[in-house]
Subunit: 543 residues, 2 copies
């Protein structure tokens, strides 16, 4: 690892613009953005993916490796990534810092407490929760209805026992009511932090968050509870982007990590904007497959922040193609040209979808050691037939040099200046039309059915004056549809909308299809059981 | 503020032994202790206090000011303090970084997330909790009794609604059972971290913590749950002491902050030991008045860590003396020589008590602007009559120079080498005798009454082989007795022991007299409502 000061120097960041957290991590001071904000933006590239297998297809890995490869080709590149959460790290998924030779470092620190951003978000979230119950305890002047408090509590941990709780039991302990904990990444505070432009905007957004309803049925906000300034104080450092590096010394801004279902799943606007001022190319990613991640990146983040994506990289794997073509989950390592060929329909649809945003795409085949040459050739041939550039990416095994072909294909695309980015839908239509457009154009479903509760929420949101927000779809990541087993390129299905809720601070309406888990559980043998640390603090088994 | 590297240089700490958190905070690397551990220890001084008014008597303030004064006199001094908790900071008490001209800085950072130690402790605590419920969810091979899980959850927030909860509600969310949240400072993980000698000892202690009982009534430990390595990984940086400075550039180690009732209320052993290798004099404090703080400092921390306190400073105020002499809480600013004279009995008893530990004392009169000269004279005269050195301390108004007299008195005492420190009681007697000794010798009560539940616990602890641990008294801070309104120097009272529980990891038996609150609530108008932050991140109203 290079000292982070040296990495910062590569992109023209000066020493006094860094707030050091040890030798290898730093926060970037707001004065840096002030100094560079009038510069021309670099080119923004989104890394997204086809519908994945449960193991994931390597978006983070590809983002890191691609940034390394671009730098090696002489293009000053900054990657912009999300921050890991402790929950999955100690549960099942492992870390979120890439792997093999495409990693960000110090990975141990980044996967643990990093610079404390998630802890700050947890604290701000729970301060608001405590102040809400405290308000009711001390006379409840706002006439909050304890049965309609929608603000939950948060913890950065996988703990299924906290999904359904009752609080306030015992004499003198306040109002007895049902409650729940979210994992911190699912907190609206996280989404707000990631979409905010600066501290002022952060305050405004926090203030708009709806915490519940009065006895008269009127929404009550965090501003009315008087929590906004204190919450912002808790977030004042968390709002500053973090700088780390890849194994090859490429600068990476790691900042924010909202859920990709009930939130938009992208790293922070503040971090992305700053990266665009510091790099000629900025490579970033968005959670889940392109049907969710890319759509929300384009329709929520880029639209709101005025960003223009110049290209998209669609990560596919031979395994995921076979999986989408009907191969069994535990036989994906076996040759199966029939399943592979059938699965190409999934890739094809994602490429078509990306074009609907006016953004040119390149396909990255994230290569595994057991992929057969004829399988890879088949994918490349399909891309050729679709006239979409494609490249095999071996960044896991070879780091930046394994991404050279992909980087060259991407640079070729960028040099064409072919992006005519536009969001999929207009904001000034009603929520229902926006949902309809996404289902029709991106998912290719036949229609949408709303639960009675969702219809009531639709009416409420339109009445509240928030009808022109974008929609944030919460859907299974495994299928274009809302049914996890409908793989490939399904058609004719109807999407069931169960709940719609307004995240007024984040500025979107969350549309829940199916049941969305906002607090994961631990598996039978959690990752935590297989870790160790010696007397000198040396850790193993963390990721 | 000086750069922390410069402050570290004053006590011979080298650059590579610092892990920077910005320019003004650093963690001290374990390699530093390795380098200096064979040095002779400096002289350890405890700052403690008489029984306080609800506003507190200024122990932290005096500790900071005294360290500044000692440095000004040419004695290389390091202060060792506890870390603040977010709960009180956003609730009522305000920060814990001193005030006036005796403050540690950067106070805003220290009072907020600091270097993340409390967040790490919260995470480690809650990982264990999640793993316990997860164990029951996945077949419960240890046959845990869900009605006898004693491990609670933790949050660094004042939130009374979490004192009594039910968890696990809803299908698929685990075992429904009663639970509770503690404030993080009350977590046994905090006590363990503060008493540990190093990472190995930390692991051993975490492993011994009792999390509940099996269906057969046998204690089950954190080690059996398989959580210890992962918890230690979460704590690997939190275990390193933090270095900051006072307003006058005096080095201060701020590390750990356990509750002073259900825990021992002292900063970390690791931090104190390190301070003793770096300073000629180390000034530290212990929570609450001397009946609780000094007793536990002497009987738990110093005994276990092999530390020898050379002197104690007893902080008194004219207001607290009047309060202990019967003056009303809201009239303490008015002259009342009769109440003052009566209240001197409280001070006198604390001085006598300190001598029972073989530790010589000096009285510090923490001066307020509205103290009358005759009031101060009366206190000094009483000290003269008792033949205990005393000095007026004006460190709030004047910083180190306001503590010169106190520092000189202390140095005089230290030069006499008069300490013959010894704990109050032997460990190798039963728990009941130890409690009896403290009540008789320190509190001066007539006897102790045990609830049936406490008697059962006594038998259990003796049976478990933990009978030789020290006791950790949890009692009101306002009185020598267990009755908050019994002020002054009460006699003839009986202490009621309600519960006794074993903190096997910390290594003490907690003796609860009265009801002990381990999760505070917010007041009607919490401090959080009166804070603000501007667009440049400038904070006001935080403390």
């Amino acid at each position: 690892m290079k000292p982070i000061m040296e990495v910062a120097g590569l992109i023209g960041v000066e020493e006094e613009e860094l707030e050091m957290y040890g030798r290898y991590k730093a926060k970037l001071s707001p004065s840096l953005y002030e100094r560079v904000k009038s510069r021309k933006d670099g080119k923004l590239v989104l890394v997204t993916a086809m519908n994945p297998t449960p193991a994931g297809e390597g978006k983070t890995l590809t983002t890191i490796g691609l940034a390394q490869a671009l730098n090696a080709l002489g293009h000053k590149t900054v990657a912009a990534l999300r921050e890991p959460s402790l929950g999955p790290c100690f549960g099942m998924k492992g870390g979120a810092t890439g792997s093999g030779r495409a990693q960000i470092v110090p990975s141990e620190d980044i996967n643990l407490h990093f610079t404390g951003d998630l802890h700050a978000i947890t604290s701000a979230h729970n301060l608001l929760a405590a102040m809400i119950d405290n308000h009711m305890y001390h006379g409840n002047p706002l006439r909050l209805n304890p049965q309609r408090i929608v603000w939950k509590r948060a913890m950065d941990m996988n703990d299924r026992s906290l999904r359904g709780i009752v609080t306030g039991l015992g004499e003198g302990n306040g109002t007895v009511r049902e409650g729940s904990f979210l994992i911190t990444t699912a907190s609206e505070v996280m989404a707000v932090l990631c979409l905010s432009e600066d501290i002022e905007d952060l305050k405004q957004r926090l203030g708009r968050m709806i915490i519940g309803y009065s006895q008269e049925g009127e929404p009550v906000t965090a501003a009315q509870i008087g929590a906004v300034e204190a919450m912002t104080i808790l977030l004042k450092d968390a709002v500053k982007p973090n700088l780390v590096q890849t194994l090859e010394g490429t600068p990476v801004i790691v900042h924010g990590g909202p859920f990709a279902n009930i939130a938009h799943g992208c790293s922070s606007v503040i971090g992305t904007r700053l990266a665009l001022k510091l790099g000629e190319i900025v490579v970033t990613e968005a959670g889940f497959g392109a049907d969710l991640g890319a759509e929300k990146f384009m329709d929520i983040k880029c639209r709101q922040a005025g960003l223009k994506p110049e290209a998209a990289v669609l990560v596919v794997t031979v395994k995921a193609l076979k999986y989408n073509g009907g191969a069994a989950k535990d036989r994906l390592h076996e040759p199966d040209m029939q399943a592979l060929t059938a699965g190409l329909a999934n890739m094809k649809r994602h490429v078509e979808n990306l074009k609907k945003f006016g953004v040119p795409a390149v396909v990255a085949i994230n290569h595994f050691a057991d992929d057969l040459p004829e399988e890879v050739e088949r994918v490349l041939a399909e891309c050729g037939a679709m006239q979409v550039p494609a490249a095999v990416s071996k960044v896991w095994a070879d780091g930046g040099s394994g991404g050279r072909e992909l980087a060259e294909a991407l640079v070729g695309l960028l040099e064409e200046n072919a992006s005519s980015y536009r969001p999929l839908y207009e904001l000034e239509t009603d929520i229902r039309s926006k949902i309809g457009t996404i289902v029709r154009e991106i998912y290719r479903g036949a229609g949408v059915e709303y639960s009675p509760s969702a219809l009531r929420s639709l009416a409420e949101i339109d009445k509240s004056g928030y009808g022109s927000v974008p929609v944030c779809m919460a859907k299974t990541q495994y299928s274009f549809s809302d049914q996890p087993r409908l793989l490939g390129a399904p058609e004719g299905f109807t999407v069931q909308v169960r709940e719609i809720s307004l995240s007024a601070g984040a500025g979107f309406a969350v549309v829940q299809t199916g049941s969305i888990m906002t607090m994961p559980g631990l598996p039978k043998s959690p990752a935590a059981e297989h870790m160790s640390i010696d007397g000198d603090g040396k850790v193993s088994g963390l990721f």
